[in-house]
Amino acid sequence: MNSVQISHITKSYGNVTAVRDISLSINSGELFALIGPDGAGKTTLFRMLTTLLLPDKGDATVCGLDMRKDWRQIRTISGYMPGRFSLYQDLSVEENLEFFATVFKTTIQENYDLIHDIYVQLEPFSKRRAGKLSGGMKQKLALCCALIHRPRVLFLDEPTTGVDPVSRKEFWDILSRIKEQNITIIVSTPYMDEASRCDRIALMRNGSCLRTDTPEQICASFPHKLWSLKGKELYQLLLDAREYPQTYSCHAFGDCHHFIFKEENDKADDLAAYLRMKGHEDVLIERLEPSVEDCFMDFGEDDQ
């Protein structure tokens, strides 16, 4: 069953096309991520799916409800956590939660089991004003408020942007637990390494959807053989590797570079000899499996 069905949606602001002819179907109970950098169109897409914005063209349904006609019902079954903190700063933690529960005609008690895991960490601060909470705590409160009416679909817009790796991992652990409650989760992120936590992902750039699939399938369909280059002088190695005539691309990836030959049958030995001649005595070249980030970067490698 499709929880969210998007067909050919387009949205422009003046002469900027924020979302360009996007079609997606997201299954019920799926943990689905829109992955892409700033300006990819993720937020605009979320605003349309949560009925806060109408598309110029195209249609979408959320749990079978039409975004144009049934917007009232969509709002009652959706939970939305925007990228910018948007709770009431002057209300306490408890008051914010109470407010959102009341607006959705429910009570904290009724759905407390759903947020219990997250809310226990907030309970010591329940009387504190939301505006006085730390960033991590604000984020957890916002998630509780988005969940308190037990939505069928949860929209989370960049919940982990600017968050350190440890807190990011914690947040994804929380999402995995919410998923077990049979809530469809659609989350956006600029971090490619978060793809592995999702059932399926859509890679987005400049308003378009480049690819939609499981992270494994996206990596499996990478069209090149990928090699890793390691050496002592990494930056110089990068510059020299790019000068090699048979180089298709070479990108820095942490402690190594990811390298692709123009022709698949090119030999790593020849590249090693060339790099040694350039003074990289210690160069180490090995085969490597691509990551989602490799795949993302490969889309549009030609026009960059």
Binding site: P37, P165, S167, K169, Y235, H251, A252, G254, D255
Partner: protein
């Protein structure tokens, strides 16, 4: 030679110790990664080193100047950029360069030369008259970095410069960092991308206001008996007692 020397630097807000007796040095031309969990005290420490906030106790010299007595010369010899505030969006590219160059006291002749060279390096010659707001984030950040080092500072402080930037532009940004370091500019950078930690000569990791680890990425990985900086970060930051 050290361009940053920090001894027992401490900053308290009421009874909360944001920065707790940190000590370290940064060498000239080094790319120094300043990592830590949210709330570990990185921004507070960085603001002190930029001369924007006075420490409660301890000593620090930046570019040879004492941060207590010579905060103004400190500001003249550093560059700074953050993810949030970079440039004036409602000014054109050339106007931003003119504004910041003027603030740092560059002559018209210097400004013209530097503007031309900068736009050529960034492949932005045709964007001279474009409003900064209408540039993609990645371009803004590359431009903001180039503006931050326009006056050839001894050190440039970068606060999460690549957050939300696409993977290709993120790497181009780091090439600008490498080029600046080769020119002798010391780079002091915070990031949440652990692959970027690998690009640093040395990395410090702050936990609960303290510097709990400081070494080259390869030495840190050896010390923590792991193969990734992500694991190093994880094993340190997981122990943190305080939230943000």
């Amino acid at each position: 030679m050290n361009v940053i020397e920090v001894r027992e630097l401490t900053k308290k807000f009421g009874d909360f110790t944001a920065v707790d007796k940190i000590s370290f040095e940064v060498k000239e031309g080094e790319i120094f990664g300043f990592l830590g969990a949210n709330g570990a005290g990185k921004t507070t420490a960085m603001r002190i080193l930029c001369g924007l906030s006075k420490p409660t106790s301890g000593e620090a010299k930046v570019a040879g100047y004492d941060i207590y007595k010579q905060a103004e010369p400190v500001k003249q010899h550093i560059g700074y950029m953050s993810q949030k505030f970079s440039l004036y969006g409602n000014l054109k590219v050339w106007e931003n360069i003119r504004l910041f160059g003027g603030i740092y006291g560059l002559s018209d002749k210097q400004l013209k030369e530097k503007t031309d060279r900068m736009l050529a390096v960034l492949h932005m010659e045709d964007k001279r008259d474009t409003l900064v707001d209408s540039l993609p984030l990645g371009w803004k950040q590359k431009l903001a970095f180039s503006v931050a080092i326009l006056h050839d500072p001894r050190i440039v402080f970068l606060d999460e410069p690549t957050g939300g930037v696409d993977p290709v532009t993120r790497r181009q940004f780091w090439e600008l960092i490498y080029q600046a370091a080769r020119r002798g500019i010391t780079v002091f950078v915070t990031t949440h991308y652990m692959d970027e930690a690998e690009y640093c000569d040395r990395v410090s990791i702050m936990v609960d206001g303290r510097v709990d680890a400081l070494d080259s990425p390869s030495a840190l990985k050896k010390q923590f008996n792991t193969t990734t900086m992500n694991d190093v970060f994880y094993s340190l930051a997981r122990k943190a007692g305080r939230g943000e």
